[in-house]
Symmetry: C2
Subunit: 263 residues, 2 copies
């Protein structure tokens, strides 16, 4: 897309694929604020995390082009979408990357598995202010009114102010209408774990197979600075996610331990 | 595997798959220190990051069983391997998780894309002391002598001391024999980026496709506390990787910015 005006250029992607209502909603939100190039997986790619496609080639297809919008599909993952957009579709670095709106929560530890958030991290790596947005509602037709009202505030603020260095945002919306939402909370991710419960079955050829399933266990349900607490208490949660995973405190501890061992 | 003795129980996995020489080397290293249960993808799963398999069921197959070793293949990703091992194969939590030895570096920002390191992060989420190991050599028959010498030291230390809370280790070995290695450095991940260079081709049906390729650009080649510097200077790099991605400093900055805006 050629930048032909002074409107911000906004790259939009997701992991639920080109047909997801959450993507359409996010594109509509973004178009109010700038020119949009959207590129999304040609089918759902949930749980793909930051996977990239190495073994197979990627294909992309222009689905729509109109004033202020180009819309592409991509055969790869959300991270692939960002990479190929930056490298092949955009003539300048976008002013903002938006990923979502994901159908289902990406709060707490789900950030690790999320393709939505991987796209935002990939944007952050490319020094693009990047925001992943998710609603804690797995239905295909959730009530997006809260996403629209509060999401636009967050997006507008990010466009104007940028983000602190080295982070992208993980925004989750509670499953309630806009007028029930109490506001925005800046949070940390709650400590927790997906407790796996593999569903073991036997196929017609008498061979076992397993469906990955499970439930989320929140290790700190009473901690008011966590995203889980915010969402349960009708707030929009905003977690700044580091794109550098090194732990400085642990480095000091390990250096001391390895020095003692004489290595 | 039933724990029938007091030897440590070590879970081993990788992302290069069951046939990778790096996996065999790591299993041999682990068997010196404990009983081993190994489970690895049935084929290579590089670049899968923390992807999990939701759309399809998983299959596992016992390939070998002998004293002190069970060896399984799994149809899923490295993260799936850890989940199904913990849930279906192990009667107690293992004392250690080892992932690798990956054929190719996972230093700097490659940690984001790495299936090897995702398995270590998944272990960390399950509160298992977890270490991912990689050699900066993409060949199928690298010289593992340095991995064996220094890797065993790191593994032994992790078994005895555990790890600081909330981290796993990202260990990378330079591509030189053991006697050329100068020691172990505790590092942070270098800031850098994979610069994409999509290789655009046209298929026999006149449709374009793209191979993802690229080169790594190190943004801070002279910083001696980074993993890239350590590896280039013949050290083994050890980066403690956080399993909680929240950025505390950015939380404070954003809270102040949003408070000013009156939200």
């Amino acid at each position: 897309m050629k930048p032909e005006n002074n409107r911000p250029l906004i790259l939009v992607t997701n992991d639920d694929g080109i047909h997801a209502p959450g993507l359409k909603t996010l594109i509509d939100m973004a178009r109010k604020l700038g020119d949009v190039i959207a590129i999304a997986p040609d089918e759902g790619r949930s749980g793909m995390s930051h996977a990239i496609t190495i073994k197979y080639p990627l294909r992309i297809k222009r689905l729509r082009e109109e004033e202020g919008l180009e819309f592409w599909s991509c055969s790869g993952t959300p991270a692939d979408c960002v990479k190929i957009a930056v490298n092949q579709l955009l003539e300048k670095k976008p002013d903002l990357l938006l990923s979502g709106i994901n159908h289902g929560s990406n709060s707490s530890i789900s950030v690790v598995y999320s393709g939505t958030m991987a796209a935002a991290v990939e944007g952050g790596l490319h020094a693009i202010p990047s925001v992943g947005l998710s609603i804690t509602d797995y239905s295909s037709r959730p009530d997006f009114s809260g996403c629209i009202l509060y999401g636009e505030e967050i997006i507008r603020k990010t466009l104007v102010d940028g983000l602190p260095a080295g982070v992208c945002l993980n925004v989750n919306f509670p499953r309630i209408p806009a007028d029930k939402i109490r506001g925005i909370k800046i949070c940390r991710q709650a400590r927790g774990l997906w407790i796996e419960e593999f569903d073991k079955r036997t196929d017609p050829h008498k061979r076992d197979y397993f469906w990955l399933t499970g439930y989320f266990e929140n290790y700190e349900p009473d901690d008011e600075d966590t995203d889980e607490w915010a969402l349960k208490n009708d707030y929009v949660s905003v977690v700044p996610v580091r794109i550098d995973f090194s732990d400085r405190d642990a480095m000091l501890k390990l250096r001391s331990a390895y020095a003692k061992a004489g290595t």
